[in-house]
């Protein structure tokens, strides 16, 4: 059997929505045992509404069916390789159960608004009482300290407050945000390494620790040069559309077909000559005004028009291959279905198909890294709500059948969200 890198590591996961669950998904992919704690009273936002309005959410074939929370694409995308347990953390018995699980876990993760875990009686100091070397990780919007610590955000607003949106936008236009919640996966991939660094520290020193991650700060860490230009030179960046800050030309050009586009970056004078040759415009390569990057920057508008005129009747993929064969960086602006057919992603097995008992069989994105000896993978589908409550309470928390029955009778472990009115944010 292929070894799993994180075998033996147990993570009690209280995170929700996107960043946290994606982090723990990656840990699960690498072999960690992840127990996700949810509550039927307040579903993970990614599970969607209990009674979704028509057209809302991403359900297989657009059909939420009877238990939409088990069919929500946003949830199923980022919760594979986890077991799922329902606990009402506003009930003292729910808190007690959480602590008994924490006592058996290496790591506890959470992404509530700052201060919520403390109000549950599940802050780091509380958890240390049950396990001295526990590693607790809070993935909050702004961090656990500071005047904005209780502020909420989504990936889209984090792009705004962290700086990246200020340099995103069409030239001369207003700033804007990405078509995804880019900060969430950024935070997820970073936090995996942080957690494992903390585990290493614990293994060597016997000490656990509390990690207080600010999603906003993580996002600012990916705009380093933008910040440095201000702190060194006082310059504030504005959107430059699809252009490059140094190279020219660079742009996104129309191709034949339905909303097809190709991205091209010319990074050197030699690549410019190659592009001109492929375009069948050798006179452009010979034009001394365009031979150097300064000339091409000065003529960028004209070059964009020239390139677009060439690409607009052409097949995007054929154009990409032809340019790449000539050593010019080019790539199709890949649409949804093309992602699943992309020769590179397919050849490297990027998509992993998963059978889900209520959502059916679908391909899901895998990981941004491949490890030769511990590749990891998808071992189980994203769990149904409360699917593993009993087995986890028995096997991990060490509860008797009697205790588990009591929790059921008290409603602490309910997995029926229809029984509860929606809870206010």
């Amino acid at each position: 059997m292929t070894p799993r890198a994180l075998a033996g590591l147990r993570v009690l996961d209280g995170t929700q929505v996107w960043a946290g669950p994606t982090c723990t998904k990656l840990l699960g992919d690498m072999g960690a045992e992840v127990i996700k704690v949810e509550s039927a009273r307040r579903l993970d936002v990614a599970r969607g509404e209990v009674n979704p309005r028509s057209g809302a959410g991403i359900y297989p074939d657009g059909d939420p069916q009877e238990r939409p929370w088990n069919r929500a694409g946003l949830y199923n995308d980022r919760n594979r390789n986890k077991r799922n347990i329902c606990l009402d953390l506003t009930h003292p018995r729910g808190v007690d159960a959480f602590k008994r699980l924490a006592a058996k876990s290496d790591v506890v993760t959470e992404s509530f608004r700052s201060g919520v875990m403390e109000r549950f009686g599940l802050g780091y100091d509380d958890l240390r009482q049950v396990r001295d070397d526990i590693i607790m990780v809070s993935l909050s919007s702004q961090g656990a300290t500071g005047p904005e610590r209780a502020y909420g955000s989504f990936g889209a607003t984090l792009e705004q407050t962290a700086g990246i949106a200020s340099m995103t936008g069409y030239r001369g236009g207003d700033p804007t945000t990405s078509g995804t919640f880019f900060p969430d996966p950024v935070v997820a991939v970073f936090s995996v390494g942080c957690i494992l660094a903390a585990v290493r520290q614990r293994d060597r020193t016997g000490r656990g620790t509390y990690l207080d991650l600010s999603q906003r700060e993580v996002t600012t860490s990916i705009v380093g040069e933008m910040v440095m230009d201000y702190t060194m030179n006082g310059r504030r960046w504005e959107p430059i559309g699809n252009r490059h800050r140094v190279f020219a030309p660079q742009g996104v050009y129309p191709c034949a077909g339905d909303d097809m586009w190709i991205a091209i970056t010319v990074r050197s004078d030699a690549e410019w000559a190659a592009l001109a040759r492929v375009m069948g415009r050798p006179e452009l390569a010979e034009d001394p005004r365009l031979a150097g990057v300064l000339g091409r920057r000065a003529e960028h508008d004209r070059l964009d028009a020239t390139i677009a005129e060439w690409t607009c009747q052409r097949d995007a993929y054929a154009t990409m291959r032809e340019l790449q064969a000539a050593g010019v960086a080019a790539g199709v602006a890949t649409q949804g279905h093309q992602l699943f057919e992309d020769p590179q992603l397919v050849a490297r097995g990027f998509w992993e198909e998963v059978d889900h008992p209520e959502a059916g069989r679908h391909p899901y994105l895998s990981r941004p890294f491949k490890l030769s000896k511990t590749p990891g993978g998808t071992y189980s589908y994203a769990p149904l709500l409360g699917e593993h409550t009993e087995v986890v309470l028995r096997e991990v928390a060490g509860m008797s059948d009697e205790e588990i029955r009591e929790l059921t009778e008290l409603g602490v472990t309910s997995n029926d969200p229809t029984a509860f009115a929606p809870v206010e944010d």
């Binding site: 804007t176 991939v189 040069e225 230009d229 490059h244 590179q344 992603l345 490890l371």
Partner: protein, 394 residues
Amino acid sequence: MTDRAVPLEGVKVLELAEGVAGPFAGKMMGAMGADVIKVEPPGRGDAARAFPPFLDDAPHPETSGLFLYLNTNKRGVTLDLAHPSGRELARRLVGWADVIVESSAPGRLAEWGLGYEAIAPLNPGAILVSVTPFGQDGPYRDYQSSDLVALALGGLLYITGDPDREPLKLGGQPSEYFAGLAAFSAAMVALHHRDAGGEGQHVDVSVLEGIATAQMYAGLNYAYLHENRRRQNAFAPMFRAKDGHVGVMYRQPNWPTFCEMIGHPELVRDERFRDVAARRDHAGELNAIVAEWMASQPKEELYHRAQAARMPFGYICDARDLIESPQYGARGYFQEIDHPLAGRHLYPGMPIHWGHERWELHGAPLLGAHNAEVYGGLGVSGEELAVLRACGAI
């Protein structure tokens, strides 16, 4: 005085990478207390040294803001891997390292006798982390790339921008930074495995696959709904405030609060806006009302007022707004770092607090600053160093 956070104390990292992604991974490990030795080609150094922004806009290999930011907490040596004498030194460094981060074109290291197959017998515990545009294999392996091309092929470009215009790039170098963080985390996974009794291994990080992971919506929409997600209006629509831009976000329960805030409490009873679907159908009318009101309001004041009412607004922060952010100030996010040639400047610091310990950040190394110290530590004598220098190996 609190202790310095050094969770990676004792980890030895050899950075053969240049540009953004690989060095960003090395920077994170260095901040966490690993001993990072950065290897640069003699003469030109890391390609990032040639990229703006430069201090006072005066190009100089030691004052690129991009390089300075990405290379904190490292020792720097020069070494020509294309030079046989250089490779001899490289093999000694490889024997020293726990983690080796590299970003050369696939196959290049192997040509130099430093591929994983050559490294493993030399140092079975070594973890080789290769960061490349498309990964170590597959039909695009040798393709050329850029941040824009990676965003395009990874599916993020297509879904960003206005529906009636060309797809739009996310600003900066997001694909490179993303791959850097993926490389950092993958190195930690491999290190954990090795320290738990496993072997070293080869980690293959593809910038493309980072973006294909980050796009999420385009893939999921097609897998579940059989339709291609298109560019659509921003998730948190942005409006012009008096002094900048504000992103508006509220959920249905906050709708009355929102109406109150914009001075139009009567909208609560307006059928055109009664729920999310209705507001979407009448977005133009609603946006006109919101835009008119917002134009007179200061951005930060709006942000704080909305947040106080539990509506997760954002406001567009450029670098000055970030530096002046009271939140970042309170957390000490920006750190002043000194550098012998670039001087003292504020840098983005570590984005995570580590218990009660503090991060200690040091300026990027001058080109070859630690040659004598590092090579001396490997047992290379001063005389040998002089020979290697004269031959152009270091």
